[in-house]
Symmetry: C2
Subunit: 335 residues, 2 copies
């Protein structure tokens, strides 16, 4: 074929005559002009998988168009307070997978899970002992936790972000009249012994937003839209890998069928009952529910090393030995 005669046209690799078989290689050839080797690699894998998906399903025009319309609807329902693409990622297990890849955990540490769409940045900074929920209908819950290193040493002054729904299964941001008044949220700091504690309410199951395209997809798949009872936790401290996780209440409905694949066995906790001594010490009613957990954070160094090792392992598995691993991310070595 003739090459481009336009002086403005960049010099690009000539495409071969396009067929079902060679279209993938041709798209790779055109994308090989990309100056960012990481983006080039990500696009190469993305295009390969997208094309294989179409070839393996013999995707029809009508199905493709249904997909185009679905994705358009997902994009169009997004607002400042609703992220339907994250929800879509959640219900196909991608969010959990990406979190697990990006935040690898040694066996002794606390596992991460999905962030979900309901974290906010305006939770009040509170002292240990604070009551995070104003809901009069919630069942009182005392939360007693520690934060330690993988070596078992307490970690003080960790910024701990906690959030949960009210007893109706709704986060504060799901109420139209919320305004600036956060509820069911707090940011607390661990003390010298790595302890942090607060009063909340016993979490309840709740449905993810199901009035949009993702809800319709779940329905078509014969799946429910419920999450089991849980409370969210996020940990930040310089030198440690951020931990985004949640604790699940053992025996909750939907414990084995979480719509967003957030449950890990190590994060399921059996609630206890507050003893008379604890009731006095923490100023809660005797017989109230008690949630105890010892969180274990991983240092940045440990995480970096693990990310590197896991990436090397994955590239071996793929048979791609000519890859550099930069900050845990594989990048082709030869350009």
């Amino acid at each position: 074929m003739a090459s481009s005669k336009n002086a403005d046209a960049p010099k690009v690799p000539d495409l071969k005559d396009l067929t079902i078989e060679n279209i993938t290689e041709n798209v790779h050839r055109i994308n090989s002009q990309c100056a960012d080797p990481r983006l080039k690699y990500v696009m190469e894998r993305l295009v390969s998988h997208l094309h294989d998906f179409a070839r393996e399903t013999r995707l029809s025009f009508d199905e493709w168009m249904a997909g185009i319309q679905f994705l358009t609807q997902v994009g169009q329902i997004c607002t400042d307070v609703r992220q339907e693409f994250i929800l879509l990622s959640d219900i196909v297990g991608l969010s959990l997978l990406v979190d697990s890849i990006d935040h690898p955990k040694p066996p002794s540490s606390t596992e991460g899970t999905v962030l979900g769409p309901f974290h906010t940045h305006d939770a009040p900074s509170d002292q240990n002992g604070t009551s995070i929920s104003a809901d009069p209908n919630g069942e009182a819950l005392l939360v007693l936790c520690t934060v330690k290193t993988t070596a078992g040493d307490p970690v003080s002054d960790v910024k701990v972000d906690v959030w949960e729904t009210d007893s109706d299964g709704k986060y504060d941001v799901q109420y139209e009249n919320r305004g600036d008044k956060a509820d069911g949220r707090a940011v607390i700091r661990s003390d010298e012994e790595g302890v942090f504690w607060f009063k909340g309410i016993v979490p309840v199951p709740y449905p993810i937003p199901n009035d949009g395209p993702v809800g319709k997809l779940l329905e078509k798949l014969g799946r429910h839209c419920w999450r089991p009872s849980h409370m969210h936790f996020m940990f930040e401290k310089s030198g440690f890998d951020n931990l985004v996780t949640a604790l699940y209440i053992r025996g909750s409905d939907y414990e084995t069928s979480d719509a967003v694949f957030g449950v890990k066995e190590s994060l399921i906790v059996s609630l206890e009952t507050v003893t008379p001594e604890q009731a006095k010490k923490y100023d809660v009613k005797e017989g109230a529910k008690l949630l105890k957990y010892d969180f274990v954070l991983v240092t940045d160094e440990e995480t970096k090393q693990l990310r590197h090792d896991e990436a090397i392992k994955a590239m071996h598995g793929l048979g791609r030995e000519n890859m550099l691993i930069v900050n845990g991310l594989p990048i082709p070595d030869v350009d």
Copy 2:
């Protein structure tokens, strides 16, 4: 783990403890509740490829979030007259691939190519010989074509939809003041000899819409956004597979680097010059440009058989022998 205690909760397969390795199988287990076997298979392949993509790239949280934001922008820029997701599908070669899968062609027939976003349903129905372009600056082009079967017999009364840009590389719908007045378009019917002909202008290269997220992606990939000179054709007649195709002018800029991967060698045509005899017969200026092409349509029966055969071949290649092929679409045989 405990099974669901809620009477409303459907009975679903229990999830295993989620890890990077088993998350894919777990998502398949939950989706296996789907009552539509075709949707179930499509989702199984989609989730497998999506997860493999994340594992093979070690997709980071930041990259995932960039992807979420990109897809959201693509969805939000879509309007009744702009379909950015189709554009995205076009520039990664998916549109061409899906068309090629859905409309398989025997060697003797005319190949299909991308529909593009600029077809409308309001082109005027015209007689052979019509002038489709009102652009006074376009270079006059006589288009002389035939439509035949794969056996070489003429096909009469085929509905032929044609559309092209003006000499500025813009379709009528790209002008705000277009209103109901179509330009650069017509719907013509082939005559008894399978002949159709009309007057247009010599096509010019044009850029695909590049002021949105897809344009930004092309820029990041170091790719241009141009399409080589071409004219669109769509053929419809009962008993024949619809043919969506285009003819490309040999020697056009971007002929070997079409931004949407539409060019196939068999669709590239060298323009000729109108002879004195033709000028008289067709009432055009002597020396004007001439585009000649013989299109070959495939019957529905031929297409159906080919689709079936290609699907069988693809399933063999995948090592999936337990598939039914229904209307060319693979569906698992055992539920």
